[in-house]
Symmetry: C2
Subunit: 310 residues, 2 copies
C-alpha cells in the first residue's frame, strides 16, 4: 500500500497521475481537514472534496477546482437572502455537503462519512481524513483594522490572501487523534508520498496530528516528497505568503528543510536544479525532474519518477 | 388586525387576494406546520413557504407552487449520490431551508426564524407558525404491504395519495403550545378567516394545538370560513381522500360541519348553492359566491365578500 499525504487541488492533480501508474486500490490518501469550514450550517471539506472529485473523474478541468457542469443557483439565492456568498458553493457540490452534514449529525465520524461519500462518488482510492476530530487552521494577519485571527478559507477565499501573515496555527490539533487505522496503515505502508501541496496549510496540519509525524518517521518504508515550489513561487495557491511566517524560505530547498528528518527523497523541478546540492545537504536524496503537471501524462510521469525512488 | 388560518397553495392564492383588499400590515397569518419535514438534514416548512413565496411575489404562477425561475440541480446531484429525490426541493428553495435550518440549530424558535425569513424574502404580512413545537401529521394507510404509518409528505408527494386512508393524526400536538403571542392576537382580532385550505391536514392541525380552537371560539370578533370543496371535489390537493377518514362528507356542507360552532359565516361556491340550506342548518350564515380563483382579481373579490361578513 502506498500512502499519500494530500492537500487539495495540487495534490489531486498529482494523485490523478499516481493512479495512472499504480492501481488505485493500492493507494491510501490522507487528506487535510484543517481547511474544513462550517458555512450555511453545512460541513464543507474542501481538500477532501478536491481529491474526491478529481479522482472520481468529476472535476472541472478548465476551472481547476469543483465539479464539472457546476451551477451556482443556491448561492445566488442565499446572497439574495442576505447570507454570505464569499465561499463558492456550487449546486452539485452542495449535495455532497448536505449528505456529509446529515451523516455527521447522525453521529458517524468524518472518516466513515468520507468513505461513504467516496463509494457514492466513485472515488477509486481509499481517502481518509487526517483525523475525525475538529482541527481548524487559523491565520493571524495584519488586517486593515489591526491583528485579526481568520479561519483559513476566510483568509484565502474571503480575503484573497491579501493581508500580511503573522502566524499560522492548527486550533485543536493537540487533542486530535489520527483517524482510525491510519497509524497502522502508515506502519505497514510500502511507501509514503508527500504530495506537492502547500507545506504550511495542507501538509503541516496532517503532520501536526499527534502520532502521524512519528509514525511516518518510524515507518519501515521510504518517504518521498514533491516540491510545491518551482522557481521560487508556488505552482498554485498562496504558500509564498505563508512560508515566511512558518520560518521557511519560498524555494524548493526551503520546503525541503521542512521535510528533513522525515522524507528520504525530495523531488524538485528542473528549473530548481541548482538547489539539489542544498537539498542533499539536508540529508535528502534530491531528484530533479519536470514537476509542472499540465496533462495527466505529466502527472503520471512525475508520480512514476517519485515512486521509483521508494 | 385580521387573522387568517392557512395551509399552503390554496391559502396562498386566497391571501394574495386578501392583501389586495386589506393592508398587508393588518393581516396575521397562522401557518400550518404539521406538514413540515426533515429531509437531507434540512427543516422544510412547505406551507409556510407557499404562503411566503406567493405573498412576496416570488412564486411560480404557472407551476402553481415553489419559486419562479427555479432549477433542480442540487436534487439531481443528491439523486446521483443515491439520496432520496422524491421530494422536489428546488435550488432557490433550498437556500430558504438552509437558512431556516441554520437558525433553528442556533437555537431560535421556528416563529422567530419564520419572521426573519419573512423580512428577508419580503413577505408583506405577519406569518406565524401555529406552534414552535414539533407536530407531525401522520397518515395511516392501507399500503401495498399492509397498514403503514406515513409522514404527510411521504403520503402525498412520495406516494401521490394513492393508498386508502385509515386515519390522520397530529403526532405531538397534545404537548404543543401556540406560538408566542398567537392567543393574544386571536383574542384581539377584528376578524378571523379560515382560508380555503384542506380542512383535515391544513386547518385541523392548527385547531388541534391546545388553546387555539378555544381562543377562536372565544374571540370577540366573527369568523368566516371559505369552502375548499367545490362541486364535491377539492379545488386542489387530496382532501377528498382524507375527509371520509376524518368522518366528513366530501362536500361544501361536509366541511361546514367541521367548522360549526367555530365559524359564524361559511362561504361556498355558486355551484354548491343547493347546500346553503344545509350549511345554515348547522348554525352558520351561508354566503354563496364564486370561489374559484383563476386571477388575483378573483381572489380579491372572494376575499372582499368574505371579510365583508366579519
Amino acid at each position: 500500500m502506498l500512502i499519500a499525504l494530500a492537500g487539495g487541488v495540487g495534490a489531486a492533480r498529482f494523485l490523478r497521475g499516481l493512479i495512472a501508474t499504480t492501481p488505485p486500490g493500492d493507494v491510501l490518501v490522507i487528506g487535510n481537514t484543517g481547511d474544513d469550514l462550517r458555512i450555511h450550517g453545512l460541513h464543507v471539506s474542501p481538500d477532501l472534496d478536491s481529491v474526491s472529485y478529481t479522482l472520481a473523474g468529476l472535476g472541472d478541468d478548465e476551472r481547476g477546482w469543483g465539479l464539472a457542469g457546476e451551477t451556482w443557483n443556491v448561492l445566488g439565492a442565499l446572497d439574495r437572502l442576505g447570507e454570505p456568498s464569499w465561499f463558492g458553493l456550487g449546486d452539485r457540490d452542495l449535495a455532497t455537503h448536505l449528505l456529509r452534514t446529515r451523516l455527521l449529525h447522525e453521529g458517524q465520524p468524518l472518516s466513515a462519512v468520507t468513505a461513504e461519500l467516496g463509494r457514492r462518488l466513485g472515488v477509486p482510492v481509499r481517502l481518509v481524513p487526517m483525523t475525525d476530530d475538529p482541527v481548524e487552521t487559523r491565520v493571524e494577519v495584519d488586517g486593515p483594522d489591526g491583528v485579526e485571527d481568520l479561519g483559513f478559507q476566510e483568509y484565502w477565499v474571503g480575503r484573497k490572501a491579501a493581508d500580511p501573515v503573522r502566524r499560522v496555527r492548527f486550533a485543536g490539533v493537540e487533542s486530535a487523534r489520527p483517524a482510525p487505522g491510519l497509524l497502522d496503515a502508515i506502519a505497514a505502508a510500502d511507501g509514503i508520498v508527500i504530495c506537492p501541496s502547500n507545506p504550511v496549510v495542507s501538509i503541516a496540519p496532517i503532520l501536526a496530528v499527534p502520532g502521524i509525524r512519528d509514525a511516518i518517521a518510524a515507518a519501515g518504508c521510504r518517504t518521498v516528497a514533491i516540491s510545491p515550489i518551482v522557481g521560487g513561487a508556488p505552482v498554485r495557491g498562496m504558500a509564498d505568503k505563508l512560508l515566511p511566517a512558518w520560518g521557511a524560505e519560498v524555494s524548493a530547498a526551503g520546503v525541503a528543510g521542512l521535510y528533513a528528518g522525515l522524507a528520504d527523497v525530495y523531488v524538485l523541478d528542473q528549473v530548481d536544479a541548482g538547489q539539489a546540492a542544498a537539498v542533499e545537504a539536508l540529508g535528502l536524496e534530491a531528484v530533479v525532474t519536470q514537476t509542472i503537471m499540465t496533462t495527466v501524462a505529466d502527472a503520471a510521469a512525475l508520480a512514476k519518477t517519485a515512486i521509483e525512488r521508494l
